[in-house]
C-alpha cells in the first residue's frame, strides 16, 4: 500500500518523477496521487511534452555536413595540439641541447647576466643606504630626540646631569692630568654622553695653555691634548635620565681643571711656639704623605692637585 501524498507535497515531487530521481516509495506515492488528481496529472503531461519537444528538435542527429565539419575539426585540432607540443617548454629545452656547441656560450652569457644583476643590486643597495648628512638622516635624527644623533641639553627640563662612574673617578684625575708637567691646567671639552654612558663627538673647546713658542713645546701640548682626549674617550658615565627614568643622550661641556696649591710655610705664630722636648723626637720623623695622588717630584704635604 502506497503512502498518501497531498497535492502540495506531490507538486514538489513531480519533477523528480519525470527525471527518474525519486526513490521507489516516493515514486509509488506520486503515481498513486496522479491516479485521482487531474491537476497534477496535467502538469506531468505538460512537462513530459516539453521534454519531448526539446528532444524532438535537438540536433542529436547531425547531417553529412556536420560529419564533414567534425572531421575537419578533428584534423585541425590535432595540428594545433602538435604545434602546441612543439612550442612547449620541454620541447624547446630539448631543442636547445641538441647542439652542444651552444651550451657553453649560453652558460657564459647566463653567468655574465647574473653577474651584472648582482652588481646592479649591490650598487642599488649601496646608494639606498642613507648618508649621515642627508636630509632623510637629519629628519630621522630630529624625529628621535635623546638619541646619539640628536642629543638633549640638560637644563631646567628635569634631565639629570651625567655623573662619572665611581670606578672612573680617579682615571682622569690620577692619570692623565697628573702626568702633565704644568701645575695649573684647565680644559673645556665638549662631548656627547650617550644612552649607554659612553662618550662621543668630543672636542677640546678651550685649552688653558698659551700658544707654545717653539715647535717642541707645541708638539708636547698636542700630545697632552691627544692623551686627554683618549682618556675622555675611555671614560664611562652614568647616563643622563629624564624625569621618567629613560636614559637619553646629552650634549655637555665638561671643564677639567688641575690646580696646584703650594703652602708657603708654617705661620709665624706656630714658629714662635716652643716645642716640648718629649715631642721633638717625633717631629724629626718624616711626615706621612696625605691621602691622594702623589705628584711627581713634589712633597705631598706641600702641593695638592684637584680636578673639577
Amino acid at each position: 500500500m502506497s503512502q498518501y501524498v497531498g497535492c502540495e507535497h506531490a507538486r514538489t515531487l513531480l519533477e523528480g518523477l519525470i527525471d527518474g530521481e525519486l526513490s521507489m516509495p516516493e515514486q509509488l506515492a506520486v503515481e498513486s496521487h496522479l491516479r485521482w488528481c487531474d491537476t497534477c496529472a496535467f502538469r506531468v503531461e505538460d512537462m513530459r511534452l516539453i521534454g519531448a519537444s526539446l528532444r524532438a528538435r535537438s540536433a542529436t542527429q547531425p547531417d553529412d555536413r556536420s560529419d564533414a565539419e567534425l572531421e575537419a575539426l578533428n584534423e585541425g585540432l590535432l595540428m594545433r595540439v602538435r604545434a602546441e607540443r612543439a612550442e612547449s617548454l620541454p620541447s624547446r629545452l630539448r631543442e636547445m641541447f641538441v647542439d652542444m656547441r651552444l651550451l657553453w656560450p649560453a652558460l657564459g652569457a647566463t653567468a655574465a647576466v647574473l653577474l651584472c644583476v648582482a652588481a646592479s643590486v649591490s650598487v642599488l643597495h649601496a646608494s639606498a643606504s642613507r648618508e649621515p648628512d642627508s636630509l632623510a638622516a637629519i629628519i630621522s635624527a630630529l624625529g628621535s630626540p635623546g638619541s646619539e644623533l640628536n642629543p638633549l641639553r640638560p637644563a631646567d627640563n628635569g634631565i639629570t646631569i651625567p655623573r662619572l662612574r665611581d670606578k672612573e673617578e680617579g682615571f682622569l684625575t690620577g692619570g692623565t692630568l697628573e702626568e702633565m708637567p704644568a701645575e695649573d691646567v684647565i680644559y673645556t671639552i665638549r662631548t656627547v654622553v650617550g644612552r649607554d654612558g659612553s662618550t662621543s663627538n668630543y672636542e677640546v673647546l678651550l685649552g688653558d695653555d698659551p700658544v707654545p713658542a717653539n715647535r717642541q713645546a707645541a708638539a708636547r701640548a698636542a700630545a697632552e691634548e691627544v692623551a686627554l682626549l683618549n682618556a675622555v674617550r675611555k671614560t664611562r658615565f652614568l647616563p643622563a635620565k629624564t624625569p621618567l627614568g629613560r636614559a637619553v643622550a646629552v650634549d655637555m661641556v665638561w671643564v677639567l681643571a688641575k690646580t696646584t696649591i703650594v703652602a708657603a710655610g708654617p705661620p709665624e705664630s706656630l714658629r714662635a711656639r716652643s716645642v716640648p722636648e718629649s715631642r721633638v723626637k717625633d717631629a724629626t720623623k718624616p711626615a706621612l704623605p696625605e691621602r691622594g695622588i702623589p705628584i711627581s717630584g713634589q712633597p705631598s704635604n706641600s702641593r695638592r692637585s684637584a680636578t673639577a
Partner: protein
C-alpha cells in the same frame, strides 16, 4: 531518450580517485597525457559529437559551436594531466564545454553582440538535422508548432537555466552530474530546472489558449 552514462555517482571535486573512470578510459587518458596521437584522435572521435551538439544547443550557432568544440578539446588536452577521475570523463568535458560557452556568452554581452543567431532561426535556415527516415516517438508526441514555441522560449531563458534543462532533457544527465558540470549544488540544479520548466509551461499554456 537518455544517453548512456559511464559513471553512476559524481563525487565532490576534491575527491581524488579513479573509481568513476573505467579501465579503458583510464588507459586512454594516460596515453593522451604521454602524447600518444592515436589516443588523442580516439578521445576526440569519441566525444566530439557530444561536445559539438551541446555547444550548438548552448550557443545556437553552428560556426561558433565548431570553434568552441576545438577550444574545448585543446583545453581538455592541456588540463588532462590534472584530471583525477572525480567524475566520468564525459561529465568533466561537459563542464569544460559549459564554462567555455559561458565565457563566450559573456564576451558577446560585453561586445553588445545582438546579431547572434538563435537555434530556432538556425533550424529554420538549415532545416531539420534529423533525417525523415528516423522519426522518433518524441516527434510524434510533440507537434511542430509546439516544438517551435518551446525552443523559442528556451532561447529566451537565462544561460544557467537553459543549460540545466538541456543537460537534463537532451543529454539525459542526472542531477549530480548536472551539478558537477555547472559547478553548483544539487539543490540549485533542481531550482533552476523548476524555474525553466515553469517558463516553458507558461509558453505552452499560452499556446493552448
Amino acid at each position: 531518450m537518455q544517453t548512456p552514462f559511464t559513471g553512476d555517482v559524481v563525487k565532490n571535486a576534491g575527491a581524488l580517485s579513479w573509481s568513476e573512470v573505467d579501465s579503458r578510459e583510464a588507459t586512454l587518458i594516460s596515453r593522451c597525457t604521454t602524447g600518444d596521437e592515436s589516443a588523442c584522435t580516439e578521445l576526440v572521435a569519441e566525444h566530439q559529437r557530444m561536445v559539438f551538439t551541446l555547444a550548438l544547443h548552448l550557443l545556437g550557432d553552428r560556426d561558433e559551436a565548431l570553434d568552441l568544440s576545438q577550444e574545448v578539446f585543446l583545453r581538455v588536452f592541456r588540463t588532462l594531466s590534472s584530471f583525477r577521475g572525480q567524475s566520468a570523463l564525459r561529465t568533466w568535458i561537459y563542464r569544460i564545454v559549459i564554462n567555455q560557452a559561458r565565457n563566450r556568452q559573456r564576451w558577446w554581452r560585453r561586445r553588445h553582440r545582438t546579431s547572434q543567431v538563435s537555434l530556432d532561426d538556425h533550424l529554420h535556415q538549415c532545416g531539420e538535422l534529423e533525417s525523415t527516415a528516423t522519426v522518433l516517438p518524441d516527434r510524434a508526441l510533440a507537434s511542430k508548432e509546439t516544438a517551435d514555441r518551446i525552443w523559442g522560449a528556451l532561447d529566451r531563458l537565462p544561460f544557467d537555466q537553459r543549460t540545466a534543462l538541456i543537460l537534463r532533457e537532451i543529454d539525459g544527465l542526472r542531477y549530480e552530474e548536472i551539478a558537477f558540470s555547472l559547478g553548483v549544488a544539487v539543490g540549485t540544479v533542481k531550482s533552476r530546472l523548476t524555474r525553466a520548466r515553469q517558463a516553458l509551461r507558461a509558453e505552452l499554456l499560452g499556446l493552448r489558449t
